[in-house]
Symmetry: C2
Subunit: 203 residues, 2 copies
DNA sequence: CAATAATGACACTAACAAGTATCATTGTAT
DNA sequence: ATACAATGATACTTGTTAGTGTCATTATTG
């Protein structure tokens, strides 16, 4: 019923260029996330996916085999995007802050909700998401800890990650709190670092 | 296709006693969890719920308004069960161990998966689950910390809870690891307590 | 013992959704 | 230029599912 769903195809007809084809594929996947989030994988319809992408159902099926194909492609694309767009942070603090901020974003929370909810039926997506998300984050934290705080502190990377998520993230997953602001993320990260004795002794 | 789904009603006909009616309601809800877990809320059918409970669809609708009614009743029942069956633990260590063990059980993991996945469409269930789960756990941890480790340590209850969940719990939600054994739960709890300086100085 | 609540069995309806088919149309590729 | 790939528009097929209706049956309740 939303404006998104009411939209009608807007592209012209005719054979698209190779570039346009890539763009359109991305456009379909991008539009798919909100639809799956609003209705859940099981209840989302292909017609809704088509309308949201401003494309006809016919076109969806020219890019993907079926509904599951759209879903898996969407998750994979987002997962790899997330893991590749990680800009190198200068300090442990800034890295921790970035992680907190990103992980509480509406986009990533939604993605996690979907994958967790469907993990029984799409186990490979759960694996993909974890490998390109948590694992990578923990490794990056370990690298920074090692170089900035010494070898001994490296085993604290995983607990640190758990604290960076914290109760806040659980509430986010359940839809009980809004995304963290940049300031909140920084404060949260500092608290977690302090608890583990990983905060730089400044001033 | 599973044996569960193939089962047929087994009860006799006729008017049940008041007690039987209560039992049957519980029986329906109990059978509903595996069905919702296997198929997801959206894809689970009322026929599957009926067959799993060894009851006819007609009977389901005599206890609940609709599919959503079965779902919400099931979650509420499980949530209150969980929060009430909490046996008082003697020490902080044993409480922490219990929490780790329970939270990684197949039952609670499944419940969380469902509620997280459907949190957009059933926000009140998310609230219920959090209130009767996390909130209560953190409060109990805080009580024990206060009485066993002193007032100052109480603020560490929430971080402690986050560490008790830890990366392990995230993997569990994604279906990437099996339930923790009792021994694993104890070891994990001790590690978390040690990290926050909350482990009793024994020996 | 009579009235009636609850059930199983089973058919049925109405809605909805996945995926396909057709066809005219447009613009790319060659 | 000409073939043809991809699309929008639209209708259609086929299967599924939520929820209801009916009726005989059983046993509780009063």
């Amino acid at each position: 019923m939303s404006a998104r769903e009411a939209a009608r195809p807007v592209r012209k007809r005719g054979r698209p260029t190779a570039i346009e084809r890539v763009e359109r594929r991305a456009q379909i996947l991008e539009a798919a996330l909100p639809v799956f989030l609003d209705h859940g994988y099981g209840n989302a319809t292909v017609d809704q996916l088509a309308t949201a992408a401003r494309v006809t159902k016919r076109t969806i099926y020219s890019y993907f085999d079926d509904k599951a194909g759209v879903f898996t492609a969407m998750v994979r694309t987002l997962a790899t995007t997330v893991s590749s767009d990680a800009p190198d942070a200068d300090t442990l603090e800034s890295l921790a802050t970035r992680i907190v901020y990103r992980l509480n974003s509406a986009e990533l929370i939604g993605l996690h909700r979907l994958v967790i909810g469907e993990s029984t039926r799409f186990p490979e997506l759960a694996r993909t998401l974890h490998d390109s998300g948590d694992s990578r984050h923990i490794a990056r934290l370990a690298d920074h800890i090692r170089s900035e705080r010494g070898q001994d502190a490296a085993p604290r990377a995983q607990p640190l990650f758990s604290l960076l998520l914290g109760e806040e993230h659980r509430k986010r997953l359940l839809g009980l709190s809004p995304p963290a602001t940049a300031a909140e993320a920084a404060a949260h990260a500092d608290r977690a670092l302090a608890l583990l004795g990983l905060l730089a002794e400044s001033e």
